[in-house]
């Protein structure tokens, strides 16, 4: 397939896969048909067939109904709607395109998700007379969920509003405001009239006030901001190639990153490591290969690998877990039931899996989170998934190929669900819980408080402990029952076997998370002061307790200031090379993207900060007593 790398002519033009979204009446098929027509990409015999069909099925009288170029299946023609994903191929001097055309109705969310899963850009249509509709928001949301990064917003049927610039700019502004938190890298609004071709391949004289690109130009410039080759190396083993006793190689397509001969790689499953001896292809051995290439790797040392294993660099491994938290899109009329066993396919691995908890489903028109016990066709939910055996996975937002999965019905063999992993969960699965009569609600009632975790994260020396100490004193004075867990103290006790490697830091936080959760179970307010440098582990702790029981406080003090303070002389030692893996110096700190509270460690005094924490906490308590 002409993926980004192995296309026949990729040296000349890059390939862009895009999806078109809009409802039946927005003129989506017309736009795509017109785009092909205007770009002179429709053959005469195809045009003759359209002319013949226009008289039979068309809705435009004597005019060519260009939508008929795309609506392929007989049944669809009769209903006048596209019911599946249709792919169209075209190219310009600058770029090759694969356009996926899908229907817009809510009942076709699954088709749209399918098309979006391989798209780098989306063309979203809006009817100029109607403006943003619930379904426009739904399309944008699904594109965002599937990781589409570039959006071209076509405000169509501009002829019916006399090419009124105010109408266009209002709709463009509405969309921009709506899409602010959807994570699109770029949004290009364009006023168009698909039926007559205005601003599709040429700038229309009917919109002299519009200075931006025509749709085709925008497509030629879209996407390509993210390079899979720049990410950590992931190689899901597809097949063990052993034609003779002399050759044993591992075949697959590089999911992300790059590899060179001589690189040490490890199996994410076993941790076994070996050096790459050869990168074998039909044409010749390669010194180097990157994302998208299909290669066979051989190793200098013996290594045990099978289909489903993932090869990765020793210092940058995927999670190897049997539980994940993920978005799940349901694609079949028979509802998803938590606890039911499905077949899960992720990378090249296949394993039985079940949804252990459906946290909520999403109203895809409003983004509201709704309580749910099951997911129906076209519904999207957020859930925990337990696999029968562990898999090597990454968050979907970081590496799509190792963060995506499908679920298959064991009986019908249908593909029933599509998932996007948010993060791996490290939990015991085979230990069944005892239920006891006295639980968290009873204990917290006895203490007359709602338990929670106040999680302080920030660099060493940022002031976490100082602030937490003030907060605890205040809470204590107010009669609350508290417990404080501090990084240094914990490392003297329960975690005295752990160092500061990434793996140990992860384990450190996992244990702290478990301990904090036990205290929450006992009804206490737990103040936790840990550098906790990785977003993923903080998310993991968050997932251990209820949504409103985790309050993240980011003590945001610049590195330079922490180093200046250096209360324990650690920065000096780290700079002198006496401490390895020191956060901020030789180990990364991933700042929280959306903490409940951000404290300005430079501009704010510790007591002012403590007061703000108390306010936040009291607010949360008040909210939970009004809605227990």
């Amino acid at each position: 397939m002409p993926s980004e790398r192995d296309g026949a002519n990729d040296s000349e033009r890059s390939l862009l896969r895009f999806i078109t979204c809009g409802s039946v009446d927005d003129g989506k098929s017309t736009l795509l048909g017109r785009l092909l027509y205007e770009a002179k990409l429709i053959f005469e015999d195809q045009l003759a067939a359209v002319a013949r069909d226009s008289r039979k099925f068309g809705t435009l009288g004597e005019d060519l109904d260009l939508a008929l170029l795309l609506d392929g299946l007989e049944a669809e023609r009769e209903q006048g709607i596209t019911i599946d994903v249709a792919y169209r191929f075209f190219s310009t001097a600058k770029r090759a395109f694969i356009a996926a055309d899908t229907p817009g109705h809510e009942q076709y969310t699954r088709n749209m998700a399918t098309a979006a899963s391989t798209a780098a850009a989306a063309v979203i249509l809006v009817d100029a007379r109607k403006g943003l509709l619930a379904q426009t928001r739904r399309h944008a949301y699904i594109c965002s969920l599937l990781g589409v990064r570039a959006v071209i917003l076509c405000v169509n049927k501009m002829d019916l509003v006399d090419f009124d610039r105010d109408v266009f700019f209002r709709i463009a502004g509405d969309f921009k405001a709506y899409a602010a938190d959807l994570g699109f890298a770029a949004t290009v609004p364009i006023p168009v009239c698909a039926r007559s071709g205005d601003n599709l391949t040429w700038r229309s004289t009917r919109s002299p006030w519009y200075a931006g690109p025509a749709v085709l130009e925008a497509l030629e410039g879209a996407g390509g901001d993210e390079q899979a080759a720049d990410k950590p190396f992931r190689f899901p083993v597809q097949w063990v190639n052993r034609p003779s006793s002399e050759f044993r190689g591992f075949a697959g397509v590089i999911a992300s990153g790059a590899v060179r001969v001589g690189d040490p790689l490890v199996s994410a499953a076993s941790g076994q490591s070996a050096r790459v001896a050869r990168i074998v292809t039909f044409d010749d051995d390669l010194p180097f290969a990157e994302a998208g290439q299909a290669v066979t790797l051989t190793f200098s040392e013996e290594i045990d690998l099978a289909r489903g294993d993932v090869l990765c660099p020793p210092h940058d491994r995927p999670d190897f877990v049997d539980q994940v938290a993920a978005w799940l899109i349901w694609m079949t009329p028979e509802a998803m039931l938590p606890g039911r066993s499905y077949i899960m396919r992720t990378g090249t691995m296949t394993t039985p899996a079940r949804v252990s908890a459906l946290k909520y489903k999403v109203n895809i028109n409003t983004h509201e989170q709704l309580a749910a016990r099951t997911l129906g066709l076209n519904e999207i939910g957020y859930c925990n998934i337990v696999m029968a055996r562990p898999a090597a996975i990454d968050p979907y937002s970081e590496i799509q190929r190792t963060g995506a999965f499908i679920l298959i019905d064991r009986v019908t063999n249908e593909t029933v669900g599509a998932g996007m992993i948010r993060f791996g969960l490290r939990r015991a699965t085979n230990i069944h819980r005892q239920t006891h009569a006295i639980g968290k609600p009873a204990r917290s009632r006895a203490l007359n408080q709602k338990p929670c975790i106040l999680w302080f994260t920030g660099l060493s020396g940022s002031g976490k402990s100082t602030i937490a100490d003030l907060v605890e004193r205040d809470l204590h004075r107010r009669g609350y029952h508290t417990m404080l867990l501090d990084g240094d103290n914990i490392r003297h006790g329960i975690n005295n076997d752990l160092g500061f490697t990434d793996a140990d830091r992860v384990e450190n936080i996992r244990r702290v998370g478990e301990v904090a959760r036990l205290f929450v179970e006992s009804g206490l307010l737990v103040l936790c002061c840990f550098i906790s440098p990785f977003a993923q582990e903080r998310e993991m702790v968050r997932s251990l307790v209820a949504e409103d029981e985790f309050i993240e406080i980011f003590v945001d003090t610049p590195l330079a200031e922490c180093e200046r303070r250096d209360p324990k002389g650690l920065y000096a030692k780290a700079r002198a090379g006496q401490i390895a893996n020191f956060t901020g110096v030789s180990s990364p700190y991933e700042a929280p993207q959306a903490p409940a509270l951000r404290i300005d460690g430079l501009g704010e005094t510790a007591s002012a900060a403590a007061n703000r924490v108390i306010e936040l906490f009291l607010d949360a308590q008040a909210r939970s007593t009004t809605s227990p």
Binding site: N9, D45, A75, Y87, F282, I408
Partner: protein, 259 residues
């Protein structure tokens, strides 16, 4: 397709046999090419013909294109697949060829009777293909589904892959049938005296010779074909007479089991 398969499994050979459904009316040059390549590469080649259809005298000239394609291609394929008990068959069909193929999956499922239900196809997300089938069911797999005709020729050029010479233009004996140029490949094609002309003709696709139209062209090598294609105003399957029998005829044939 063969080249892609060899690359995919290299240095091992492709771990499956190769099947040709011979209708008895293939271009003779295509058969020569097939046998040559199979021998040179040591392929496990299976050739199957619907003998019962041949015995009943079904042929593209007397029986008409619809019946011939149905019996010799579609039925022949179904018989060969059932006989071999294959759970999957690869083919080189592409989405850019025809509208109903534009909606075809890469992994396309067939019932025990080899029929296709376009309304009930499995969604294909990312590169995660669901390959599970019940006993008796099978999969048609189209690995180069997303290639275009242009990609094919660019690939042939880049990889220096030999092709059947009929793809290149040469002086060939042709007659006109339904406004299309049909090559006189052997003496089974009824020809009026003096009807035959010699023209520079090439083929963009190779089916049964009486049902495959050639185009006048001067393109004698891959480079010239690419140049010509960029200026072409006809689609590739324009030369397949069987597609024009009625609208949506490809979709109907596919439902019945045609590749």
């Amino acid at each position: 397709m063969l080249h892609v398969a060899r690359k995919a499994f290299w240095p091992a050979p492709p771990p499956f046999p190769f099947l040709h459904i011979a209708t008895g009316w293939d271009f003779s040059a295509a058969i020569t090419y097939r046998d040559c390549i199979a021998k040179a590469l040591g392929l496990d080649l299976i050739v199957y013909t619907n003998e019962e259809g041949a015995r009943r005298g079904v042929n593209p000239i007397a029986s008409g294109s619809v019946l011939h394609a149905q019996v010799m291609s579609t039925e022949g394929l179904k018989q060969a697949l059932s006989r071999g008990g294959y759970d999957a068959a690869f083919a080189g069909a592409r989405r850019d060829e025809e509208k109903s193929r534009a909606k075809e999956r890469i992994f396309s499922f067939r019932t025990r009777e080899h029929t296709w239900d376009p309304r009930n196809q499995r969604p294909e997300l990312w590169n995660l293909y669901n390959t599970r089938v019940a006993p008796g069911e099978s999969i048609r797999v189209f690995p180069i589904s997303n290639w275009t005709e242009f990609d094919i020729w660019s690939y042939l050029r880049a990889e220096e892959i030999p092709v059947v010479p009929l793809y290149f233009s040469a002086r060939r004996q042709v007659v006109t049938r339904k406004d299309m140029l049909v090559m006189v490949d052997d003496d089974r094609l009824p020809v009026d005296p003096g009807e035959t002309r010699e023209l520079m003709v090439r083929f963009r696709t190779l089916g049964c010779y009486p049902l495959t139209a050639g185009m006048e062209s001067s393109a004698r090598n891959v480079d010239e074909i690419i140049v010509e294609m960029l200026g072409s105003s006809q689609s590739e399957r324009h030369g397949r007479l069987i597609d024009h029998d009625e609208a949506a005829s490809m979709e109907r044939k596919k439902r019945e089991g045609y590749f």
